[in-house]
C-alpha cells in the first residue's frame, strides 16, 4: 500500500512540484529584468557572462591556499554526485523506462569510487559547516536539512544498489521524492541558479573591461 503510494502518486506529485517550483523560481528571478546600462562598454556583456559561467568551475590560484580542503571536498562531492546521478546503472535504466533514452553506464568500481568521493566530500563540508565559525554563523537550519536529505538519498541509493530488497528501493525512492519536494524551496537550487549569478556578474565586469 505504502509502496504503491511511493511508486505512484508521490512520485508524480513530487516530480510535478519540483518542475513547477524550479521553473517558477527562475521565471520570478528573470521577471525583475535588468535596467538598460547606458555607459559605453569596454567589452561585450555576453562574452563575459559565458566566460564567468565556465571560469568559476575553477578557483583562482590566489585563493587556493586558504580554501584548498573545501575546494577539493566540493569537487569530490559534486563530481561524485553527478556521476552517481547520471551514470549509475539503475538510474539509467530508470530514465530509459520513462523516456526511452539510454547511454553508457559506469562500471561498478567507478560507482563505488564516485560514492566514496561524494560521501567523503559531503561529510567534510557538513562537518566544516558545523565547526568553522564563519559557516556556523551563516548556515541556516534549511541548509543543514538540505545536506541531511542529500546524504540520506545517497545512503539509501547505495543500500539499494544490490537490489536485494524491495523496501530498500522504496526507501531510496521515498528519500528522492522528499528531496524533490524540498529542493526548489531551498539553497540546493543553486544547481539551477548558479549560471544566473555567475553570468550576470561576469557580464557586469566584462562590460567594464575585466574578465572574472
Amino acid at each position: 500500500m505504502i509502496g504503491e503510494f511511493i511508486d505512484g502518486p508521490l512520485w508524480y506529485i513530487s516530480s510535478i512540484v519540483f518542475v513547477v517550483a524550479v521553473v517558477w523560481r527562475i521565471i520570478v528571478i528573470l521577471s525583475f529584468g535588468r535596467k538598460k546600462n547606458l555607459a559605453k562598454p569596454r567589452y561585450s556583456a555576453g562574452g563575459g557572462a559565458m566566460a564567468t559561467i565556465l571560469r568559476r568551475f575553477f578557483p583562482y590560484r590566489e585563493f587556493y591556499e586558504v580554501s584548498k580542503f573545501r575546494i577539493v571536498a566540493g569537487y569530490m562531492f559534486h563530481i561524485g554526485l553527478f556521476a552517481l546521478l547520471f551514470f549509475a546503472v539503475p538510474h539509467i535504466e530508470f530514465i530509459t523506462s520513462i523516456s526511452g533514452l539510454s547511454w553508457a553506464a559506469m562500471p561498478h568500481w567507478a560507482f563505488i569510487l564516485a560514492a566514496e568521493l561524494s560521501f567523503f566530500g559531503l561529510m567534510y563540508l557538513f562537518v566544516f559547516r558545523l565547526t568553522n565559525p564563519v559557516t556556523r554563523m551563516l548556515t541556516t537550519r534549511g541548509e543543514y536539512l538540505g545536506s541531511v536529505l542529500v546524504f540520506v538519498v545517497m545512503l539509501t541509493g547505495c543500500l539499494a544498489l544490490g537490489r536485494s530488497h524491495e523496501f530498500l528501493r522504496l526507501f531510496h525512492l521515498l528519500s528522492v521524492e522528499l528531496l524533490l519536494l524540498y529542493m526548489p524551496f531551498s539553497s540546493l537550487m543553486h544547481a539551477f541558479t548558479f549560471p544566473f549569478s555567475r553570468g550576470f556578474t561576469g557580464a557586469v565586469y566584462h562590460r567594464r573591461g575585466l574578465n572574472i
Binding site: L38, K40, T135
Partner: protein, 442 residues
C-alpha cells in the same frame, strides 16, 4: 613635491570632528524601515535576485575580505553583509515570499542600525569577495544597495553624512569651493605651473578633488605639468571641478546625481571630447560607469582616469619619460579603478616605462587587497580600528615586494596609506602616480 605633514595631521584632525557637523536625519522606526524597503524594492533587479538566490553560505568570501581576515571576526564575512537585503527579498519580492513570511521575521529599525557597521564601517565595496565566490555573486553591489537603503532611512554614519550633506547643499567637500581651487592654482602658478581655469571651450575637462586641492597639491600640479607638456587643450572649471562624489559613497542618490550632472553639463557646455578624472578612485566609476545612467543617455564625451590617459599618450608616443634606474617601486591598485573599472594594465605600462625596479605585490590587479579606506570608510571615525587592522594586510603585501615606494592613483588610498603608515611607523614612500610621472617627463 613633498606632502606637508603638518597640513596632513591638521586635515586628519578635522576629519575627527566631521560627525559634529552632520545634520540629524531622524525618522520614527516604522518610517526608517519603510524608507529602506522602498530602496531595496526599487533597486533589486534580475541580477540581484539571481545573486541572492544563488548563495549557499559556503563562507569562502570570508577568506577574501580584509576586514574579516585581519580581525578574525566572522561577523564581517561578506555573505553576512547582504543578509538583510536578502531577508527583505525573500519575504517581499522572491518567488516564495508567502513561505518565507511564515518562517522569517520582518526587518526592523534595529536591524538597519545593526547593519550600519557591516555595510559602512567594515566594507569598502572593494569587490574582492566576488573573485572567490564560486557562484560569482556581486556582493559589493548588494552592499551598495543596502547602503542606499540605510541612507534613505537616515542611517548614513554621521561623519560620512556630514560630507554628503555639504556636497548636497553647497556642491563642495570639506569646505573647498572655487576660492580654494583658485588659491591652489595661484600657488602653483607661482611655482611656474599654469592651470587654465574656466576656458569657454576645451578638448579636455579635467576635474580634481578636494584632497588634491587641500593636501596633495603634487597630484594636481603633476596633472597640470603632464597636460602642459603634452600641449593638450584643457581646462579646469571652478563650477565643476570636484570629482569626489560623497553621494555615491554614502548611498545618497540625489547627491550623487547632482554631483555627476554638474560635471557632465559643464563638459557638454565647453564641448569637451573627454573628461579626465583625477587620482580619486571612486570618482572614475561615478562618471565612467554611472554617469550615463544619471544623464539618461550615452555621454557625448569619453571619460578617462588619469592613469588611462597617461597610458594612451605613452602608447601613441606623445608622452616621453626619462628612465630612472633608482626607482624601486610597487603599485597599489585602487579597487574602484582596478577591479571595479578594469584599469589594471594601463598604470603598469606607465610605471614600467619609468625604468628601475617594479615589483608586484603577491596579490595584485583584480586580486589586489584594498587599503581599507575606500568607499568613504576613510572618513568614518568609528571604523578607525577596523581600518587600521585591514591596512596591516597591505603592509604585509608591500613588505614582500622589497620596494621602498608604493605608487597609487587614488587620493583616498593615499590618505589611508599615510594614516596607516604613521600609525604603524611604516617607512615606505607613498606617492602619487601622476606626480611621479611629472617628475620624470623627458
Amino acid at each position: 613635491m613633498a606632502i606637508d605633514m603638518n597640513m596632513f595631521h591638521g586635515f586628519i584632525g578635522q576629519l575627527g570632528q566631521l560627525g559634529k557637523m552632520a545634520q540629524p536625519t531622524d525618522y520614527p522606526d516604522d518610517e526608517r524601515v519603510t524608507r529602506a524597503k522602498d530602496v531595496f524594492g526599487n533597486r533589486i533587479g534580475a541580477e540581484q535576485a539571481g545573486d541572492m538566490e544563488a548563495c549557499v553560505h559556503c563562507g569562502l568570501c570570508a577568506e577574501a575580505c580584509h576586514f574579516r581576515v585581519m580581525t578574525g571576526n566572522p561577523k564581517y564575512t561578506p555573505a553576512r553583509k547582504f543578509e538583510l537585503i536578502r531577508r527583505y527579498y525573500r519575504r517581499e519580492k522572491g518567488p516564495f515570499k508567502w513561505l518565507y513570511q511564515l518562517f522569517t521575521r520582518d526587518i526592523t529599525a534595529q536591524d538597519l542600525m545593526d547593519w550600519q557597521e557591516l555595510v559602512y564601517d567594515s566594507c569598502t565595496t572593494c569587490g574582492r569577495c566576488s573573485m572567490i565566490c564560486p557562484m560569482g555573486i556581486n556582493i559589493a553591489e548588494l552592499v551598495t544597495i543596502t547602503r542606499a537603503g540605510l541612507a534613505n532611512a537616515g542611517l548614513i554614519p554621521a561623519d560620512l553624512r556630514a560630507v554628503q550633506q555639504e556636497q548636497q547643499a553647497y556642491g563642495t567637500v570639506f569646505g573647498a569651493g572655487p576660492d580654494a581651487l583658485k588659491l591652489a592654482v595661484e600657488r602653483m602658478a607661482e611655482q611656474g605651473v599654469e592651470i587654465p581655469l574656466d576656458k569657454d571651450k576645451a578638448d579636455y575637462l579635467v576635474i580634481t578633488s578636494v584632497i588634491d586641492i587641500l593636501l596633495f597639491n603634487d597630484t594636481l600640479m603633476g596633472t597640470a605639468r603632464v597636460f602642459n607638456k603634452l600641449g593638450l587643450d584643457w581646462t579646469i572649471h571652478t563650477c565643476a571641478f570636484e570629482g569626489a562624489n560623497f553621494g555615491m559613497l554614502a548611498g545618497a542618490s540625489t547627491t550623487q546625481e547632482k554631483a555627476s550632472l554638474a560635471i557632465i553639463d559643464q563638459a557638454v557646455k565647453i564641448g569637451a571630447s573627454a573628461v579626465i578624472v583625477p587620482e580619486c578612485g571612486h570618482a572614475y566609476p561615478a562618471l565612467r560607469w554611472a554617469g550615463a545612467n544619471i544623464y539618461g543617455q550615452r555621454l557625448p564625451f569619453d571619460v578617462f582616469t588619469i592613469s588611462e590617459l597617461l597610458a594612451i599618450q605613452l602608447k601613441q608616443g606623445n608622452l616621453k619619460l626619462k628612465q630612472n634606474p633608482d626607482l624601486n617601486i610597487t603599485y597599489h591598485d585602487p579597487c574602484k579603478v582596478g577591479r571595479y573599472s578594469g584599469v589594471i594594465d594601463e598604470p603598469r605600462s606607465v610605471l614600467q616605462a619609468l625604468g628601475g625596479r617594479f615589483t608586484e605585490t603577491p596579490a595584485h590587479g583584480k586580486m589586489n587587497w584594498c587599503c581599507g579606506g575606500g568607499a568613504g570608510v576613510f572618513v568614518i571615525n568609528s571604523a578607525t580600528e577596523l581600518r587600521r587592522k585591514a591596512f596591516d594586510k597591505k603592509i604585509e603585501e608591500v613588505d614582500q615586494t622589497g620596494a621602498d615606494t608604493v605608487v597609487m592613483a587614488c587620493g583616498s588610498c593615499r590618505m589611508n596609506f599615510l594614516r596607516g603608515s604613521v600609525d604603524a611607523k611604516w617607512d615606505k614612500n607613498i606617492v602619487s602616480m601622476v606626480a611621479m610621472v611629472s617628475e620624470n617627463l623627458a
